[in-house]
């Protein structure tokens, strides 16, 4: 079904106008939507709805004082829709007398309407107007929108300090609006209040690279400075997950430890006492009787107990597989010294040494032993004990360390990022609240796992 006959709806044309003040050519890109248009040569703000283009305001600015990073008239694809940059304004807030400015780009598509991009210090946001009202919590410190909670970031008086292009509203340089930001990275909700009228918008963080790709801009986007209010933290989303994983793996480690104590054979397979005469010169090495290591490949614990008294004994060991001839060579020292000095009694070392050899296959083994000591110190009695498959706790400590170090690092980095974010906020307590919140959730995720 189509309309018959002539209708007033033709094809809207892109219009060229001449500035009534300086004569420069102006292009109207948003068709009949343009309410005001700014001459970028003489900075006259013109009534775009008026065929005579009445001058509404003229403001002082240097030519190309603030060139838009996305030149007006450039088209780019945002979320699958082509938009054209048609308007540009700089807005300025003052905090403790220091001006901070951001830029807003007005984008237009004749079928989809308007949306915005904002840029501050190299940080970008894709902004569209909200179609339903957010729920402001008591005190205004947070609001919720479609189930998502946003935290108050700052409230400021924003002045429109520079304008270019066209706008579907009455734009004026010097106009002031109360701007209020609530963040839930990577999103933010902003309210803008002029008079009684409040407009709500939703922004989503974008990087300069995204913008450069979308609009096919040449060169490099400006490097972002600092952390922006809704910039997603590379870490914070992970912190909770990381700590729940830590909790889970700790639990697993405890279980493994318990299992290893429960299932280990812990079987003594060899014990023999020997004497070493340090006064006898020459080769002292010997081999022990054979013993069998049973079960699966697992560890072997060898304990050397020596009656050393202000003396030492060093033993070169080789654990030799009778069947394959494979030898595991290692050396152990047992030394014990003690005495008295002005501080009282002292001692150093022990008369017992224990070593664990990991992953020894089952089979028939014997030891080759070669003792050494200081010469001419008499006879040293010592005992060699071999145990098969002993439970081991050392892996537990290493495991805990391997878990806690990276998790702690991630948490620290995340807190650091959040600190930088909230340092920019007018809301000093917000960071502390967030910090408490984050640490609380870590505590919860760990204890929650341990309770299971």
């Amino acid at each position: 079904m189509t309309s018959s006959g002539p209708t007033p709806a033709g094809t809207p044309q892109v219009k060229s106008l001449n500035c009534p003040s300086c004569g420069a050519t102006l292009t109207v890109r948003s068709f009949g939507h343009a309410v005001t248009i700014v001459c970028d040569s003489c900075h006259s703000i013109l009534d775009a709805q008026d065929p005579k283009l009445q001058i509404l305001q003229k403001f002082e600015a240097a030519t190309h004082e603030d060139p838009p990073l996305i030149p007006l008239g450039t088209r780019g694809s945002i979320r699958g829709t082509i938009y054209e940059a048609v308007g540009f304004q700089r807005r300025t807030i003052h905090v403790d007398g220091v001006p901070y400015s951001w830029h807003e780009y007005l984008l237009f598509n004749p079928y989809k309407g308007f949306r915005y991009l904002t840029e501050y210090n190299g940080h970008w946001n894709d902004v569209s107007v909200l179609r339903s009202l957010p729920d402001i919590g008591p005190g205004g410190s947070r609001l919720s929108y479609l189930g998502e909670t946003f935290k108050h970031f700052q409230t400021a008086q924003a002045e429109t300090s520079y304008v270019l292009g066209e706008f579907p509203w009455q734009v004026r340089q010097g106009e002031i609006a109360e701007v209020c930001d609530y963040v839930s990275p990577p999103r933010m909700i902003s309210s803008e209040k002029t008079g009684e009228q409040i407009t709500w918008s939703l922004g989503e963080y974008m990087t300069g690279r995204d913008i450069w790709q979308a609009f096919k801009l040449s060169g490099q986007p400006p490097t972002p400075i600092g952390v922006y209010e809704n910039q997603p933290s590379p870490m914070s989303a992970n912190v909770k997950v990381v700590w729940s994983m830590v909790g889970l793996f700790l639990l697993l480690l405890v279980a493994l430890l318990a299992a290893s104590y429960f299932t280990a054979r812990n079987e003594q397979v060899f014990e023999q006492s020997y004497q070493f005469n340090s006064s006898v010169r020459g080769e002292a090495s010997f081999v022990t009787e054979g013993f069998e290591l049973k079960g699966h490949t697992s560890n072997v614990e060898l304990t050397t107990t020596a009656r050393v008294d202000n003396n030492w004994i060093y033993l070169n060991y080789a654990l030799i597989n009778q069947d394959t001839g494979h030898a595991y060579d290692f050396g152990r020292e047992v030394s014990y010294y003690h005495g008295y000095d002005e501080d009282g009694s002292w001692s150093e070392g022990r008369t017992k040494d224990t070593v664990t050899l990991p992953s020894i296959p089952p089979g028939n083994y014997y030891l080759r032993v070669e003792p050494e000591s200081a010469p001419n110190r008499g006879t040293i009695a010592y005992t060699i004990t071999v145990k098969r498959d002993v439970p081991q706790a050392s892996f537990f400590g290493l495991g805990v360390l391997a878990l806690l170090v990276p998790a702690g690092l991630i948490t620290w980095r995340s807190l650091n990022f959040e600190h930088l974010r909230w340092a920019e906020s007018g809301d000093g307590d917000a960071f502390k609240a967030m910090e408490k919140n984050l640490l609380g959730s870590i505590q919860q995720s760990i204890s929650g796992e341990d309770d299971k």
Partner: protein
């Protein structure tokens, strides 16, 4: 009622109605505003040149809303200090009529909701509840009736200044109260994204395809 087709009493052009319940239409040729009576069409006014208009919708645009297809068969154009907007009169395929408002390509579909209690006047921030939904007044717009086109379900041609109150809910519902008559009229509906309306037969724009 008169037959669904007749001639313009002003220029003689053929006038046909798409919707049997239409009360008013505009002659496409001479822009006479014509009102149906029991016997014939009466010219009650003349549409001045319409303002430059950039709605992508036009008479004959088709779409779907709430499981029903619709055709835009008429519109009222309003002008206010921030530009203008269109209220497109939709003929739904279930025989009812609805409204698609298009303010700078922000769309809402509403239906007249008679029988609710309405305030005599409202100001921003006030809350009202209809059909178990709470609405907050978001804008009060003083507008001028700027023109009409096509078929409308009522006579609408001699208005000057009108007041519209828009209300939003927390759930995307939208309400508007039309204070152009002595008795205010409530319309209830929701904000919609144009892609969800599956619009066809839209206008074309120079440089955009």
């Amino acid at each position: 009622m008169m037959p669904p087709s007749a001639n313009c009493p002003n220029c003689g052009a053929k006038i046909s109605f798409r919707w049997s319940a239409s009360v008013q239409t505009v002659c496409e040729y001479c822009k006479s505003i014509l009102v149906r009576t029991d016997v014939d069409l009466q010219k009650v006014g003349q549409v001045a040149d319409l303002p430059p208009d950039s709605s992508p919708i036009q008479i004959g645009t088709e779409g779907t809303y709430g499981g029903h297809s619709f055709v835009a068969i008429g519109r009222i154009i309003y002008e206010y200090d921030q530009g203008n907007w269109n209220e497109w009169h939709l003929m739904m395929n279930n025989g009812t009529s609805g409204w698609l408002s298009d303010a700078q390509d922000e769309y809402a579909v509403t239906f007249q909701a008679p029988g609710r209690n309405l305030p005599g006047e409202c100001s921003i921030g006030q809350q009202y509840s209809w059909d178990k939904e709470t609405y907050t007044v978001s804008t009060v717009t003083k507008a001028h009736y700027r023109g009409v086109e096509g078929e409308l379900p009522f006579q609408y041609w001699d208005k000057s200044e009108v007041i519209f109150v828009d209300l939003l809910s927390h759930t995307g519902k939208f309400a508007t109260i039309d204070y152009s008559d002595e008795v205010p009229v409530l319309y209830l509906g929701e904000a919609v994204e144009s892609e969800n309306l599956k619009l066809k037969n839209l206008r074309s724009f120079e440089g955009w395809s």
